[in-house]
């Protein structure tokens, strides 16, 4: 098992290195002189030369990469062109908002998808199953930003129940915070719920036909006990893996959701950075998102290994 985990961790390190090369090369591909870009549009020749000196842009590209990576590993991702704040600090301020949104959305998704998936699997081919599958199909087909706009139109504009946009820190006003996070979490959670529901249903159908479930039934256990204690616990294992792989979709979704509901999070930061051509921020955010995706999936794989001993023995969880 240690050997498997070590190999899995090794793969993650290699992946992270490749990601860093892609991000580094990507930024170098921006047309124009990087020193001019970093210095901003109002810099003079001396300012540009100063930047070139400061960032070592006269050195060969591989040397630049190693220096950049050494700084990045220590948490120094440069500073924003616009605000002159360190990128890591800017991200640290914005991140909690996005994390709150992601956690609430995950909660919404699991709360909808797991019960619906279980019911659909237990009552397979019933009206409930067809209904759940239909709703799930609609869930993956509906653009979540449109769902958000329609919710704002109904709940905020027509009914006036919830504020349409804005953010209140949870420490200042917990209820106000929740009122403003409710719609964004629903919107972001809906798409995830659709995917999770399908997975839960498929996993449960497979598990419910397993021998140990038949044994549990044969020894006279009631249906709820069989479903919850025996089937669900095993059925949820693959669902957890899917959750890890869905983190990317969740991050993409957060970008759009924050844009619609004007939440000053991570996603809004990157869109603003693109429009203001704030390259260090874009670079930093892209690098951090991709790295966290790799780390989250490493964690998911590790926990999966702990939960499911068969993987350890086979030892070939190829790639993902």
């Amino acid at each position: 098992m240690i050997e498997f985990l070590a190999r899995r961790a090794m793969i993650s390190v290699v992946t992270l290195l490749v990601i860093s090369v892609i991000v580094f090369v990507g930024v170098r591909m921006i047309p124009g002189d990087p020193a001019r870009v970093l210095a901003g549009s109002d810099a003079d020749a001396a300012g540009i030369e100063e930047i070139r000196e400061k960032y070592g842009l006269n050195a060969p590209i591989p040397v630049q990469y190693v220096r950049w990576l050494a700084l990045a590993v220590r948490g120094d991702l440069g500073e924003s062109i616009r605000t002159r704040q360190p990128v890591t600090r800017t991200v640290a301020i914005k991140l909690p908002i996005t994390l709150e949104l992601a956690c609430l959305s995950l909660l919404v998704a699991v709360a909808i998808a797991v019960p619906a998936g279980v019911v659909a699997a237990v009552r397979r081919n019933s009206v409930w199953d067809v209904l759940a599958s239909g709703v799930s199909l609609c869930g993956v087909s509906i653009p979540n930003f449109w769902l958000g706009i329609m919710l704002i139109l109904l709940v905020s504009v027509r009914l006036g129940w919830l504020p349409a946009s804005g953010f209140v820190p949870i420490a200042d006003d917990p209820l106000g915070n929740l009122r403003r996070m409710l719609m964004p979490s629903l919107v972001l959670g809906a798409g995830l719920a659709a995917v999770l529901m399908r997975q839960t249903r498929n996993a449960m159908i497979e598990v419910l036909s397993a021998d140990y479930v038949r044994t549990a039934r044969a020894k006279g256990l009631a249906q709820p006990a069989v479903v919850v204690r025996h089937a669900l616990r095993n059925g949820l294992i693959p669902v957890v893996t899917i959750l890890g792989l869905q983190m990317g979709a969740l991050m993409s979704g957060a970008v759009v959701t924050e844009q619609i509901f004007v939440l000053p999070g991570f996603g809004r930061l990157i869109v603003e950075a693109v429009f203001t051509r704030d390259y260090p921020v874009v670079q930093g955010v892209v690098l951090l998102t991709a790295s966290s995706y790799v780390l989250i999936n490493l964690l998911v794989d590790v926990s999966y290994t702990v939960l499911n001993p068969r993987i350890r023995i086979r030892g070939t969880a190829d790639g993902a």
Binding site: I11, I22, S141, F145, G248, M251, V256, G319
Partner: protein, 299 residues
């Protein structure tokens, strides 16, 4: 998703037979009767395609023509979908939007297939160090959440429909590399592949003539799932201002504008969104049906 083994088998049988065009239509008709939802989806997708192709004749007016006397007018006989903040006809813009959406959806996935399938073929066929290298690159590629990757690319290349299509296509590519590689790994072990090799067929011939035809249906099925996702992705990029630029009528761009006038002109937000939703849903429904026809194993 109720499907009985008997039905699937009876549907799958004609696929093996050298079907004449008439037989193909008859089969489509039979599948359609068994699965009305899938048939309806396919018909709606075709209607959208017709709308995209025939936009100049279907749209009553130029989608970019502004009319200062008709700003944000509610739906009426002259403007069934209302008008927008510049007095442009909403219906005409939705019709022309189909063109952009279909283009972005189909071309991006085509690009992903053109890049991903050959790479996956090579990785799965030769295995070894080359495979390892390709898979590590694919892992890294997959680690960029789609929108983050697209945002990065658009930052480098600049926002436009072409670049959005490129970004979506590149984002979808790793899925095809992995899918193809997995399919090749299992297909290479088949007897007919060994047979072809024993008869002296070269690598390219084995890959192109013996492996590829057997994995094509799985790739097509994956495409029907990927296209609606790509269509939504184009709308998202345009909504964020990173895709199609105004005044071109993209559904995403239209929704971006509509959000600023939700209280005064809610109709501006209804139709473009509904157009995306119905198209994506129809693609998904048709894809489900196609999966049953082409890939009867997967049930």
């Amino acid at each position: 998703m109720a499907r009985e083994a008997a039905t699937v088998a009876s549907l799958a049988l004609p696929v093996e037979a050298p079907a004449a065009p008439a037989g193909g239509w008859r089969r489509a008709w039979r599948v359609g009767r068994k699965r009305p939802a899938a048939a309806a989806g396919a018909v709606i997708v075709l209607l959208y395609a017709a709308m995209a192709a025939g936009a100049p004749w279907i749209a009553p007016s130029d989608p970019t023509r502004t009319d200062w006397g008709q700003i944000r007018k509610a739906p009426s006989r002259a403007h069934p979908f209302g008008t927008d903040d510049l007095g442009r006809d909403g219906f005409s813009r939705v019709v022309w939007g189909a063109r952009i959406s279909m283009q972005a959806g189909v071309f991006s996935i085509l690009l992903a297939i053109l890049i991903g399938v050959p790479i996956g073929l090579v990785a799965g066929y030769y295995r070894g160090a080359l495979d390892q290298l390709i898979m590590r690159l694919t892992d890294a590629w997959l680690a960029f959440p789609f929108l983050i990757l697209a945002i990065g690319l658009v930052t480098i290349l600049g926002p436009s429909l072409t670049n959005a299509t490129l970004a979506i296509g590149l984002g979808a590519t790793p899925t095809y590399i992995r899918l193809t590689r997995g399919l090749v790994l299992s297909t290479s072990a088949e007897d007919y592949v060994h047979g072809a090799r024993a008869l002296g067929a070269g690598d390219v011939r084995v890959m192109g003539r013996h492996i590829l035809p057997n994995i094509v249906s799985a790739i097509v099925v994956q495409a029907t799932v990927a296209i609606p996702t790509a269509i939504i992705a184009e709308a998202v990029l345009s909504f964020l201002g990173l895709g199609v630029q105004p005044p071109a009528p993209s559904w995403g761009t239209m929704l971006n504008t509509a959000q600023q006038f939700l209280e005064q002109a809610p109709w501006m937000a209804y139709w473009p969104g509904l157009a995306i939703f119905v198209l994506a849903l129809s693609f998904n429904l048709a894809g489900d049906g196609l999966r049953d026809v082409l890939d009867p194993r997967d049930s």
